[in-house]
C-alpha cells in the first residue's frame, strides 16, 4: 500500500498548483474504511469504501467561497477553482474573513498502525464470530460492529503552508440481547490488535444477564453512577454547546462571561488535547495551524475555551488552533475532550453508595436549554439499582433531564480508569472516567 499521508500531501500540492494566482487554500480528506455489522448473531451488513474530498477555497479581499470535488485530475481541480473564483464575485465583504495564515511549526501526532489499515473482511469476521459464539453460549443474541480503516487530511495554502496527518482507527461494539434485556460494551483504538473482543463480549453478556426481569422505579432525583460511555455523551454536548469560542463570544453558552469563575466542583478538570495517550487526531486545525492542548476547566474553575482566529480576534486573545473549515457557522470546536480521572475504583464507587442508580450508557441525548446545559436522554443496555453498597437489581430504563452544569457541581467520586469513545457522527473523541453524582434528575420512565 502506498503511504496515504504522502499521497494526500501530493494531492494537496497538486491542487494548489491550479490556484492560478488566486489567494487559495486546499483541504484534502481521504480515507479507506470498512465496517462489518452484525445482528441476530449473523453478519447483516459488510461494507468497505474509499473516499476522497478536495476542498479548494478562494479568497478575494474579505470575500471567500469553497468548492469541493472528488476529482483529483487536473481538469477537475481547474473546474473547482474556476467555480470558486466565480462564486466569490457575488458576495459582499465579510468582516470575519481572515487572510490566509503563514506556516507554523506543527508537532506530529503519530497514530497510524499499518496492520490496522490492512485489516481485511476475514479478520473482522473472525472477531465477530468470537463475540457471537460467546453470546450464543450464554443463550443471548449478538449485535454490533467491527470496523477498521485509516483516514488522513492535508491542509495547504498559497502562503506556503502545508501540513498533513494520517491515523488509523478500529472499533468493536457488541450488544448482547435476551428477550427482556440487553448489555453493551465498546472499545476503540488506533490499533486493531489492542481491542480485546472477548473481554467486550464478556462485559456485554454479564450486563444482559444481570438486566433480566428489570423492575420499574419511580422517576426522581437519585445518586447516579455514570459509567465512562455515559459521561462521554455529556462531554460531547459540552463540546458542541460549551467549549467553543463562537458561542462563548456570543454569550450563548455556560462558559460565557465565566472565565476565572468556579463553574463546576473542585474535582473537575477538563482539557482538550489531541496528544493525550488515549486520543488521536490531526495535530493542526483546518487552517493548518498547530492544535494546542487547552485546559478548559481546572479544579472547577473556567479557564478557557477553544478558538480559531476569528473568535480569538473577537475576544482579544490568540487562536488555540481549533478552526473548522473556514468560514464556519459553528466556530472553533474541541475534537479531543478529556475529563481527568480521579482516584476511585468502580468497586469503591459502588461500595460507598447507599442508594443510587448505575447507568451503562445513554441513548438519543439532546439539548433542552443551552446556558445551564440541560440535556435529556434515555438510559440503555444495563441500568441497575445500587443499594447498601451493592448492585441490587436491574431497572427498567429511565429518561434523564438534567443540567450538566449542576451535575458537575455534584460529583462525589471519579474513577481512576477512563475510556475513550468516538463521536457517533463525524470526527471527535471523548475520554472519560466514571462519575458518581448526587441529585441527578430522572424525569420519566419507559416500559422496558
Amino acid at each position: 500500500m502506498k503511504d496515504p499521508q504522502a499521497e494526500i500531501e501530493s494531492v494537496t500540492r497538486k491542487a494548489l498548483e491550479h490556484a492560478d494566482g488566486s489567494e487559495a487554500e486546499v483541504i484534502v480528506g481521504a480515507s479507506e474504511s470498512a465496517t462489518t455489522r452484525f445482528s441476530e448473531s449473523s453478519i447483516s451488513q459488510n461494507v468497505s469504501r474509499r473516499d476522497l474530498a478536495i476542498t479548494v477555497r478562494v479568497l478575494k479581499g474579505k470575500c471567500t467561497a469553497r468548492v469541493t470535488t472528488n476529482d483529483a485530475d487536473s481538469a477537475g481541480l481547474e473546474r473547482a477553482f474556476a467555480t470558486a473564483r466565480d462564486l466569490v464575485k457575488y458576495q459582499r465583504q465579510s468582516p470575519d474573513v481572515m487572510p490566509l495564515p503563514n506556516r507554523e511549526a506543527v508537532q506530529p501526532n503519530p497514530a497510524y498502525e499499518a496492520s490496522t489499515a490492512e485489516v481485511g473482511a476475514e479478520v473482522r469476521a473472525e472477531a465477530v464470530l468470537r463475540a457471537v459464539a460467546a453470546c450464543k453460549r450464554a443463550g443471548l443474541r449478538a449485535a454490533g460492529i467491527c470496523s477498521s480503516g485509516w483516514s488522513g487530511v492535508g491542509v495547504g495554502n498559497t502562503t506556503g503552508l502545508i501540513v498533513s496527518h494520517k491515523d488509523t482507527s478500529a472499533t468493536f461494539s457488541v450488544s448482547a440481547q435476551s428477550d427482556d434485556s440487553s448489555g453493551w460494551a465498546e472499545a476503540s483504538s488506533r490499533d486493531f490488535g489492542e481491542i480485546d473482543v472477548d473481554e467486550l463480549a464478556s462485559v456485554a453478556i454479564e450486563k444482559a444477564q444481570a438486566s433480566r426481569k428489570a423492575q420499574s422505579i419511580e422517576p426522581g432525583r437519585y445518586v447516579v453512577l455514570l459509567e465512562p460511555a455515559a459521561v462521554a455523551d455529556l462531554l460531547q454536548f459540552m463540546a458542541w454547546f460549551g467549549f467553543g469560542g463562537l458561542g462563548f463570544a456570543e454569550g450563548r453558552t455556560f462558559m460565557a462571561g465565566k472565565l476565572g469563575q468556579k463553574v463546576f466542583g473542585e474535582n473537575i478538570t477538563i482539557k482538550d488535547d489531541a496528544f493525550h495517550p488515549q486520543q488521536r487526531g490531526m495535530p493542526f486545525d483546518f487552517e493548518g495551524l498547530p492544535r494546542r492542548p487547552v485546559t478548559l476547566i481546572e479544579d472547577g474553575v473556567a479557564k478557557a475555551v477553544v478558538h480559531d482566529r476569528v473568535t480569538a480576534r473577537r475576544v482579544k486573545t490568540e487562536t488555540t488552533g481549533h478552526a473548522l473549515p473556514q468560514p464556519s457557522t459553528e466556530g472553533p470546536f474541541p475534537l479531543n475532550l478529556i475529563l481527568c480521572p480521579g482516584n476511585s475504583t468502580r468497586e469503591e464507587m459502588i461500595a460507598s453508595t447507599e442508594r443510587g442508580i448505575l447507568v451503562t450508557r445513554f441513548h438519543y441525548t439532546n439539548l433542552v436549554e443551552p446556558i445551564e446545559l440541560v440535556l435529556t436522554g434515555m438510559t440503555r443496555d444495563g441500568t441497575f439499582l445500587i443499594e447498601k453498597g451493592k448492585v441490587a437489581r436491574p431497572l427498567k430504563n429511565l429518561r434523564f433531564t438534567q443540567s450538566v452544569v449542576e451535575a458537575l457541581g455534584n460529583v462525589e467520586q471519579i474513577s481512576v480508569d477512563e475510556k475513550t469513545m468516538l463521536s457517533d457522527w463525524g470526527p471527535g473523541a471523548y475520554t472519560a472516567p466514571a462519575l458518581k453524582i448526587r441529585n441527578f434528575n430522572f424525569s420519566s420512565g419507559t416500559g422496558f
Partner: protein, 475 residues
Amino acid sequence: MALSEAKKLGATYADIRLITTEHERVVIRNGNIGSLDSSVSRGFGVRVICDGAWGFAASPQMEEAEVRRVTALAVEIARASSRAKEKDVVLAPEPPAQEIWMTPFVEDPFKVPMGEKLDLCYAVDEVLRKSPKIQVAESSMLFEREHCILATSEGTFADQVLLHSGAGYAATAVEGSEVQVRSYPNSFGGQYMALGYELVRSLHLLREAERVREEAVALLAAKPCPKRKTTLILDGSQVALQIHESVGHATELDRVLGMEANFAGTSFVTLEKEGKFRYGSDRVNLYCDSTIPGGLATFGFDDDGVRAQRWDIVKNGMFVGYQTSREIAGRLGRPRSTGNSRAEGWSHIPIIRNGNLSLEPGDADFNKMIAEVDDGVYMETNKSWSIDQQRLNFQFTCELGREIRGGKLQDLVKNPTYQSITPDFWGACDAIAGPAWWTLWGVINCGKGQPGQIAAMSHGASPARFRDIQVGVPD
C-alpha cells in the same frame, strides 16, 4: 462490467449504482458569509450476494481497473459475511425496471444567479439583526441534485435524477442567562422539498423576518412552561417530527428485526402487532407515499429498484403496515418490498429509511380546536427531540409555546416541553386540523446506520390536539 465480473466471481445477485451528487449551500450569518459552498461527488458502489450473504464496496475512482477491484472486494466481503449467517439472503421479487425518472420542477436552482440568492439572504439577515438582542442571525439555502444509474443482475437499468431545494432562517436572542431562538419556516434550516427554486420564491422569506425577530426577543421574557398534565395542541411542523420519531422509525422493519439493536435501537412495534395493535385513536390515519409531489423521499424507484408506492401504516388508529426493503420483505416471505431501501450517495449500502410518512388531515377547524380548550398549551416549531431505543418514551421541546385559557391563545411560554409514551400519545389525539392547514414538511437530517448515513424524507401534517399530556419537565 461490474455485474458480469461479479457473476464470474460467484455472485448470485449484484447491483451497481453510479452516482453524481451536486450541492450548493449559501449561509449568511450576522452579515458575514457563513458558507458559500459548491460540491460535486462522483463514485460507484457495488453490492453483491455471494454464498447467501451481502458484500458491498465503493470507490470514487471511475476507472475500469478500479471497478474490477471494487467488485472483487465486494465478493470477498460477501464470502466473509457468509461465515456468520443463520439464513441465506432472499430478495422479495420485483419486476426489473428499465426507465428514466426525474423530480418535476419549474426553475433549476443551480441556474438561478448566485447574486440573487445572496441578496435575499442578506436582506433577511438585515431585518433579523435590527434588534440588539439578536446575537445570531442565520439565513440559508441548500440545493442538491443526485443523478443515479442503477443496474442489477436481474435486468433493472434505471436512470433517476432527484432534486431537492430548501431555505430558511433563524434568529437567536440573548439577554443575561436567557437564550431563545425562532426559525422560519421551520427549525434546522427551514423548509425543504423536492422542487426547484420555485420553493424558495413561495416561502416569502423576507415577509416573515420581522415577526420571527420579534418573537425571538419576546421569548426572552416569556413565562416558563407549566408542569402538569393538560391539553396539548401542536403545530403541523412539530406533528411532522412527532410522526418521524414515534411512527416512522418505529415501523422500519429492519429495526423491528434487530438489525439496528447495537446503535439506533429496536422497536416496540413487533411483528405480532401487525393488524392487531391500536397505535392511536380512531382519528389517526398515517400513510407512506413515495409518489407524493414534493416529497424528499419521492422517487421513481428505490435503491433496490423497487417502484414508488403508497400504502397505509396506521388505519383508523390500528397498526397495519411496515416500511421494508427487498431483503427484509424476502426474509419474512412477503410478496413485495414497500420500497424504502435507500443509501446516502455512492459510498453507502442501501438500508431501510423512513419514507414520506404523513398524517391524513382531519376535519377540524384549527381555530375551533383552540376555542374548545379551557386549559392547555399550544407549541410550535421543534427545538429538541429525544426518544428511547424502542421508540416509546419521547420528550420534545419546541421553540414557542402559548398558554390556552378559556378557548384563547394567551401568554407566551418559553422552552415548551412535552413527554409521553407513543401509543398513549397517539391514543390521546382527539382532533386533527383539516386539509387547509396541512403541509408536507421536509426532514433533511435523519441519521441511521453504521457507518452513519443521512437521509431526507417528508412528513405531511396539520395541527393536532392531544388530551391529558404531561407538559414541562417534572423536577
